[in-house]
């Protein structure tokens, strides 16, 4: 097996992904941790491109690297303790051992199950178009696609209700209205 430029890119993207994730966990400064998260998410976008899934890569960049990381950064900035060093959480060893155990188990499963798989057939050139059609085809994924939008609507309304700090006081407490 000869090394190709693809291998180098894969190594770089993996380094971004894993290194960024490690940085998120190890950094006690929340802003730095958020920046490492952006790096990690960016690496995942790179992996998607290597897997010939350009649509997922674009979504990953737009939604995660773009929107969600901005959201996380803003949230971090409004917390009380941005730059102060928090003491490391208790039971860190236990958590680390558990995480290592999960990683070894999953790693074993993935290596044994996926190690010998033959690569799938070539990705068709119009894969994005096919994905779009699958989303609106009742025989394919129309129902989950539509339900996802209802999920977002419900979450939106709920989030506004929970987060709003000036709820209208137009409805007095329940009581004495049951003659209606």
């Amino acid at each position: 097996m000869s090394l190709t430029p693809l291998h180098a890119i894969f190594a770089l993207m993996s380094l971004f992904t894993v290194g960024g994730a490690v940085g998120v966990v190890l950094n006690r400064n929340l802003i730095y941790a958020a920046m490492y998260l952006v790096l990690s998410l960016f690496g995942i976008a790179g992996l998607f491109i290597l897997l010939e899934a350009p649509f997922l890569a674009a979504v990953q960049i737009l939604v995660y690297v773009g929107a969600i990381s901005v959201l996380i950064t803003i949230t971090v900035m409004v917390t009380r303790c941005v730059f102060c060093k928090e003491p490391p959480p208790r039971q860190l060893t236990l958590v680390a051992v558990m995480a290592a155990l999960v990683m070894v188990t999953l790693g074993f499963v993935i290596m044994t199950r996926f190690g010998g798989l033959t690569p799938a057939a070539d990705v068709p050139a119009d894969s994005i178009e096919q994905l779009g059609v699958a989303f609106v085809n009742p025989q394919a994924y129309l129902v989950p696609f539509e339900v996802a939008s209802i999920l977002l609507l419900g979450a939106l309304i709920g989030a506004i209700f929970i987060a709003r700090d000036d709820l209208p006081r137009d409805e007095e407490a329940v009581g004495g209205d049951d003659h209606a």
């Binding site: 188990t105 044994t112 009742p138 339900v147 209802i150 419900g154 309304i157 209700f161 329940v174």
Partner: protein, 499 residues
């Protein structure tokens, strides 16, 4: 490509309740925006009647079309599978939602805010799809739709620290476990390249054929999936959220979380375990679930014994009830009666817990208290409330003539049929232990004396809930056979493969 067009009916009938719920959602939102303040109070009745109408329509349509392969969901690419099992569970969910609406009118925490009913409708929609989902992608989307709305309902009382804590706790636990579930689902997809339940079974079966590696990989996926679903039904060791959420959330939210959410999750669990896992995997999951069921029942009942807060007590009781119902899933390894027993048990449990929470919300409305001690003298303060509570407690404890007796009877006999006699014995012992704290509530209501024994008022809407649940429990407990036959038929349709 959109080569073939699907006849409209075949695409619409399988998701009829979901479409109805969407219309109801729009109606409620419009009502909240456009109607004058005074008439906004009617929103709980409108939503409740809407849910009830949808249930009736769903049942009548369901009875006509069930078993007709044209209308069982194949029109939607077999992503949704509407069989008698799904019809039964959807009816439970819609009924629970309707009764929750009627109950919510009495809650100061909810104060008839439109947002509560929006969350309720979206949650019911997600649950209706959960019990009919036949595809991993729809399973996850439906589960999240239901969960996100339930987090909002749990934290709905914003001025209460307990409620906010409940919402946050439920959300954090839920987010972590659903990520783990998603990891399990993605492993299953990775092994097979399939997401459809009907095609997953054979594909996974082929995987187990090539040695212990394949089995080990599937066991890991199974464990990850169990974390997610175990959280939803509150199985030990994923139960930590239950008592706090039950105690802190507004009572109607708890009523809905403890009934509809549990029923929907068990519906999904049964479908998942009876279709997706190949027969070669049975020894692995059956033993594991049997152990979980035994631990869950015992721990739930032991911790319920010492509770002073009735909502917290019912929280631990609901953990124990999840343990009983899990026996039916274990029995599924050998007999399809297991699925029928779970379906019957869930129908009984939905009615029973709704009855209990209706009484709790009536007492809370009158006294503001949820302590068991404050139920003293309830039989003299409001005899109907006390009677319904007696029926509910007897049903939870499994005493005839309440429905809980047959619920437990069918579960335990399914376990014995499947060769899990030891599990049935643990279940019986647990049922006897549980009687102690259920009967304590009855004793306090009838024997206990309160200083102030003025009479309670019961609103007409709540009276409807009390009547429906009370009569329902007694009907299921005395005339159990038609319901049981329905459940058995439904369970037989579960494993039928579509052409």
């Amino acid at each position: 490509m959109l080569t073939e067009s699907v006849p409209l009916m075949q695409a619409v009938v399988p998701v009829l309740p979901e479409m109805g719920l969407l219309l109801l959602l729009i109606l409620v939102l419009m009502h909240g925006v456009f109607s004058p303040k005074e008439s906004r109070r009617t929103v709980c009745v409108i939503t409740g009647v809407g849910f009830f109408t949808l249930m009736v329509i769903h049942l009548s349509v369901g009875f006509n079309f069930v078993g007709d392969p044209d209308f069982s969901g194949s029109g939607l690419g077999d992503i949704v599978r509407v069989d008698a099992f799904a019809v039964m569970f959807r009816a439970m969910i819609l009924l629970a939602a309707a009764l929750t609406c009627l109950m919510s009118g009495e809650s100061r925490a909810i104060n008839r805010r439109v947002e509560f009913y929006v969350a309720l409708i979206v949650a019911a929609l997600g649950m209706c799809l959960m019990v009919a989902a036949n595809d991993l992608i729809l399973v996850y989307v439906a589960l999240e739709t239901a969960s996100v709305s339930l987090y909002i309902m749990a934290g709905f009382q914003r001025d209460s620290k307990l409620s906010s804590e409940a919402g946050l706790k439920y959300y954090l636990f839920g987010a972590v476990t659903s990520a783990i579930l998603l990891y399990g689902l993605s492993l299953i997809f990775g092994f097979t390249g399939e997401t459809n339940f009907s095609r997953l079974g054979p594909a996974l079966s082929a995987l187990t054929a090539n040695g212990s590696e394949g089995v080990f990989a599937l066991v890991v996926a199974l464990l990850l999936v169990l974390v997610g679903l175990g959280f939803k039904v509150a199985v030990v060791p994923f139960h930590f959220w239950t008592p706090d959420v039950y105690e802190g959330s507004p009572t109607p939210s708890v009523a809905f979380i403890s009934t509809a959410s549990k029923a929907a999750s068990f519906g999904l669990l049964v479908r998942f375990f009876s279709i997706v896992w190949p027969a070669e995997m049975i020894p692995y999951w059956a033993g594991l679930l049997a152990a979980l069921a035994a631990i869950t029942m015992t721990l739930g009942n032991m911790l319920a014994l010492v509770q002073k807060n009735i909502k917290r007590m019912l929280g631990y009781s609901s953990i124990a009830q999840a343990g009983y119902a899990l026996i039916g899933v274990v029995a599924l390894s050998d007999t399809e009666l297991g699925a029928a027993a779970v379906a019957f048990y869930m129908a009984m449990y939905v009615l029973t817990n709704l009855a209990a929470f209706a009484v709790i919300s009536a007492v809370e409305w009158n006294t503001g208290s949820v302590q068991i001690a404050d139920y003293a003298g309830l039989s003299r303060r409001s005899f109907p409330l006390a009677i319904v509570m007696v029926v509910a407690m007897l049903s939870l404890g499994g005493v005839p003539p309440a429905a809980g007796f047959f619920g437990k009877f069918f579960l335990f006999s399914a376990a014995v049929d499947a060769g899990y006699t030891w599990l049935a014995i643990i279940g019986v012992v647990n049922a006897i232990i549980a009687l102690f704290y259920y009967l304590t509530v009855i004793k306090v209501m009838f024997v206990g004396k309160a200083e102030d024994e003025s009479r309670y008022t019961i609103r007409p809407r709540l009276a409807v809930v009390l009547w429906v649940t009370g009569v329902g429990i007694l009907l299921m407990g005395t005339l159990a056979s038609p319901w049981w036959r329905w459940a058995v038929e439904a369970s037989q349709q579960l494993t039928v493969m579509l052409p």
